[in-house]
């Protein structure tokens, strides 16, 4: 997020004249709309906004947002975005990546942009597949995913994007999914966070990995399978008939029944976005036994990288003579006089 004067815009102002080239029915459309709906609510200024992406279906995103956009190379968007923010910290930077772009080829850069805490919003569209290259399994594909490159099913265990983010030091971790009505709120929270804000967005690749998130994302039965977390609110789901409590014996979370709305009696936890230990448990909750934890899982800002850099530059610069002539003549010098060539 950035301190800025709010600008009046509408959703239309954020649309480009470019023909959107995702497959019909792709979850990316819903995310695009959610972002275009969110930006006016943030008072964002198109001239001051930069969308940076890597390579993949999701990374086409900048072409469809009427702001500044940089579609870079595979996996490296965090590095470009870091350079942009260091050169001009006033820019409001959104980074768009995917599970392959951000966790496979670009895992290293994603780690470091989060660790350094460069102030930007990072949206990782997780569709658990390589879409643009026609359907190979990705680092988030579940074991047994059959694809052209794994015809007998994948055997490697998937990475968990939010656990990764938290593990490398992210100070904001959130989850949403493409068609969720709550997605704009999650994005607003990410924007409000000063520092690197990581948002995993489950995204339906209707062509190569159709409906893999239906287990929790489909509207029917959603309240039983989605736990939307809110700071200061009890961790309740299933129409407030169930909640998450701490299993003190095993030091893990457990699902408890809430009788007559008395969640306190059931020991249901109140979500505290600054509790890093609980956040670690939330990102790791195995879906099935537990609902899918969604919303802002963790939000505890720290000074940003670019502030630290600017600070150092200010300290190093204060009171210094910045003439180039002085710089060039630094160190021990001698003078050769006009005649005779003898040094003085």
């Amino acid at each position: 997020m950035n301190d800025m004067t709010p600008i009046q815009t509408t959703l239309k102002d954020w649309e480009t004249d470019q023909e959107v080239r995702w497959c019909p029915g792709c979850g990316d459309y819903a995310i695009l709309k959610a972002v275009q709906r969110t930006l006016p609510q943030l008072g964002a200024d198109p001239a001051n906004t930069v969308f940076v992406s890597g390579i993949g279906c999701s990374s086409r995103f900048p072409y469809y947002i009427e702001s500044y956009g940089f579609h870079t190379i595979h996996g490296r968007a965090p590095a470009f975005a870091t350079g942009i923010k260091l050169a001009n910290p006033a820019l409001d930077v959104w980074l768009v990546t995917g599970d392959g772009d951000g966790l496979s080829i670009g895992g290293n850069h994603l780690m470091h942009v989060l660790r350094r805490n460069v102030n930007m919003q990072i949206m990782l569209f997780n569709n658990e597949i390589y879409g643009l290259t026609k359907g190979q399994y990705s680092p988030t594909s579940r074991v047994g995913t059959t694809t052209p490159s794994t015809p007998l099913g994948s055997v490697d265990r998937p990475a968990n994007p939010c656990a990764f983010a938290l593990g490398v030091g992210a100070r904001f971790v959130a989850r949403g999914f493409d068609v969720s009505k709550n997605l704009p709120d999650v994005l607003k929270a990410a924007h409000a966070h000063k520092g690197a804000a990581f948002v995993e967005i489950f995204q339906n690749c209707v062509v190569y990995n159709k409906d893999v998130f239906d287990a929790f994302a489909q509207p029917k039965g959603a309240e039983d399978r989605q736990l939307w977390l809110e700071d200061g609110k009890p961790m309740l789901f299933a129409k407030e008939t169930k909640g998450l409590a701490l299993d003190l014996e095993n030091l893990e979370l457990k699902v408890v029944d809430v009788v007559d709305g008395d969640w306190q009696a059931a020991g249901v936890l109140v979500h505290n976005v600054k509790n890093r230990s609980i956040a670690h448990m939330l990102v790791e909750l195995p879906f099935g036994r537990f609902p899918m934890a969604l919303g802002v899982l963790y939000d505890d800002p720290r000074p940003t990288y670019e502030e630290g850099v600017a600070d150092e530059i200010a300290r190093a610069t204060a009171g210094k003579n910045t003439s180039l002539a002085r710089l060039l003549a630094k160190g021990q010098t001698w003078t050769v006089e006009a005649e005779g060539g003898h040094p003085a």
Binding site: A47, G69, F70, R76, A87, L328, W334, G341
Partner: protein, 658 residues
């Protein structure tokens, strides 16, 4: 300016001083040889000699004392005439311990002088240096002059009044040795004394002890002259243009040149780097120049280093990245993006021996193909090279100019030798450089339309900073429409854009090629680029002194080549291209100019010796009067072997450094 060794061994009679001398100081990495060399260099500069040095900076992590791989050395060539290289082989070797003697002895000229500290030639140190018997006593040094005495004891004696412990007293050995060296070359001690007083202003006993050691070493010279092989030599000052001078290494000069270039462009500079030998020192210098509008970023890898620099350029700063061959290879894809998005960027390659990890601490020019041809797709990038530590300052400014004026990445080729070598530098007046202020587009450039890929007369597109109201647009690595920059895969458009990118680079205005030494026509042109400048210049000078029709042509702009180069080379019967690779520039010349260039190649990790080039030139003049002389054995040891690593913290040379 830089240096070469005298053709004959140094004369030791005060009446017949040679016009150049090579001295190598070698000791344990804890002995302060770099400091000794640095102060001797300064004294040499103050005496008005031209000089070139090849320091090998000690590792921050100290190697075990007394071992062969713990040796640190510093070579200086200085003279009363123009000096172009750090010298083929030393005339004088100062060996502070057996390991230093062992590592450096093979380089010493026959008849050269060894000054050795017998106090360190103990059985333990001889064992560590893997000497079966004491070389000072066993006659194995017969072909050299040896001056061996107990410098350790003499130093301890000289500083005994200052109440230092034995260890601290012995630390003054390097000043004692320097005192002797100053006596040998008839130098003024006062600047050194002033420097020591300033350095130890808060520890007067250390200042006093070091000065006492310096004076004792100096006084020892007088005594030794009476009894032994030591003779005082006076090397006259070299005629030099009036002005302010300092010594400079290539790594410093490239850093200063980049800062100057950014200022001339009116831009802040962003430097994205990742530690790698021998390029890290550029990051180390720039990090101390924050007040000149420099932001440095130590990235997580080479790829992030260049990508962050491109991001900064996109946001309106001058992006710079630097590395050596292996790191440059990693940056290749991002360079293509900079070509595609037509953003200014300077990529500095301090070349080292390759392929792969190769020879991290040794020099080579083998990344020329990589620079000129080494990317996917048709991705032309201008390439410019530096010939010496002081030259790289101007070259860096030129790289910035091309990048900004043509909206393009530029590759600047330097090498490990240039990065670490030092030479005197006439400090330029920044006012004398023509500014090339970067222009940013602030309003739509086609009526009410924005065309991010409209081109100016140079073929450059406008630079549009994000944050500029009303100019929102999208760029990326996918082929773009000629004007709007929107995605456009159409055949005609890709053809047009490929042509436009090529035409822009081909059309870069580079200065006409001049002849560095000799005539514009003749029998043989020796064409060089990069750090071979020094030895080629000396060898061509030698050949011309023999009356041979040889000219030296030194090419700075590798891509595009100077437009008159083809015609110029047609004026010569033969073209010889000496390079520290297997003939890469020769290939470019043949490809671009259809010239029958012949190669002289060397890939030992060491610069050319002048003698090697003398011999190669001589072959073109068989039977020509004046062209006498025989074949030359290549000497792989003519420069100090940087066994102790570099100041970037890379460990011992030879293989560990990355």
């Amino acid at each position: 300016m830089a240096t070469q060794v005298a053709d004959k061994p140094a004369q030791t009679s005060p009446t017949a001083a040679p016009d150049a001398v090579v001295v190598r100081f070698a000791g344990d990495s804890g002995d302060g040889m770099q400091l000794t060399g640095g102060q001797f260099t300064l004294s040499t500069a103050l005496a008005g000699n031209d000089l070139a040095t090849f320091p090998d900076f000690p590792a921050e992590i100290r190697a075990p004392q007394g071992t062969l791989f713990g040796v640190s050395a510093f070579q200086i060539n200085f003279g009363s005439r123009e000096i172009n290289t750090a010298g083929d082989a030393p005339d004088v070797l100062v060996a502070m311990n057996p390991a230093a003697l062992k590592v450096n002895l093979s380089a010493l000229k026959p008849g050269g002088l060894i000054i050795a500290d017998t106090g360190e030639f103990t059985q333990r140190n001889l064992d560590k240096a893997k000497y079966a018997s004491n070389p000072i006593e066993d006659g194995s040094l017969a072909k050299w002059n040896v001056l061996a005495f107990d410098i350790s004891a003499l130093t301890v004696e000289a500083v005994k009044d200052f109440g230092l412990g034995n260890k601290d007293a012995l630390r003054c050995k390097n000043m004692w040795t320097l005192g002797l060296a100053l006596w040998m070359f008839d130098r003024d001690r006062q600047p050194l004394i002033d420097w020591l007083n300033a350095k130890f202003a808060r520890k007067p006993e250390l200042a006093g002890a070091n000065i006492a050691a310096l004076n004792a070493g100096h006084a020892y010279g007088e005594t030794a002259e009476l009894s032994g092989p030591l003779k005082k030599l006076h090397i006259d000052p070299v005629p030099a243009a009036p002005g302010l001078y300092r010594t400079i290494t290539g790594a410093e000069a490239v850093s200063l040149g980049l800062v100057a270039g950014a200022q001339l462009a009116g831009l802040h500079m962003f430097f994205g780097g990742y530690p790698i030998t021998p390029a890290s020192s550029i990051l180390h210098y720039l990090v101390k120049m924050k007040e000149f509008g420099v932001t440095t970023f130590q990235a997580e890898d080479e790829i992030a280093a260049i990508c962050s620099a491109i991001g900064a350029s996109y946001a309106g700063q001058l992006g710079v990245t630097s590395s050596s061959g292996p790191g440059i290879a990693l940056k290749g894809e991002a360079m293509g993006l900079a070509v595609m998005t037509e953003l200014p960027l300077v990529i500095v390659n301090s070349q080292r021996g390759g392929p792969s990890t190769g020879l991290p601490t040794k020099t080579e020019q083998s990344d020329l193909y990589q620079a000129v041809y080494g990317r996917n797709g048709d991705a032309p990038i201008p390439v410019i090279s530096a010939r010496s530590p002081s030259d790289v300052f101007e070259v860096a400014i030129e790289a910035c100019r091309i990048a900004v004026e043509y909206m393009t990445p530029v590759i600047l080729l330097t090498d490990g030798y240039i990065a670490n070598a030092a030479e005197p530098w006439k400090v330029p007046d920044p006012e004398t450089f023509a500014p090339f202020k970067a222009q940013f587009l602030t309003e739509k450039n086609d009526g009410d339309r924005l065309l991010p890929y409209a081109r100016d007369t140079k073929g450059a597109r406008p630079w549009i900073k994000p944050g500029t109201p009303g100019l929102m647009h999208r760029i990326g690595g996918i082929e773009k429409n000629q004007g709007t920059g929107n995605i456009d895969y159409s055949p005609e458009n890709h053809q047009a854009m490929t042509d436009a990118r090529k035409a822009k680079i081909d059309g870069i205005v580079v200065p006409d090629q001049d002849v560095s030494l000799g005539d514009a026509k003749g029998r043989l042109a020796v064409v060089g680029w990069g750090s071979t400048y020094g030895p080629i210049r000396r060898a061509v000078d030698n050949a011309r002194a023999k009356g041979l029709s040889v000219s030296h042509i030194h090419v700075r702009n590798i891509w595009p080549l100077p437009r008159n180069l083809g015609d110029l080379l047609k004026g010569f019967d033969k073209v010889l291209v000496p390079e520290m690779n297997t003939g890469q520039f020769k290939t470019v010349l043949r490809d671009q100019l259809l010239v029958d260039a012949e190669s002289l190649t060397k890939t030992s990790g060491q610069p050319f010796q002048i003698a090697e080039l003398d011999a190669a030139i001589a072959k073109f003049f068989d039977g020509v009067p004046g062209n006498e002389g025989g074949a030359v054995e290549p000497n792989s040891q003519q420069l100090p072997n940087p066994v102790a690593g570099y100041d970037d913290g890379s460990l011992k040379a030879g293989g560990d450094a990355q």
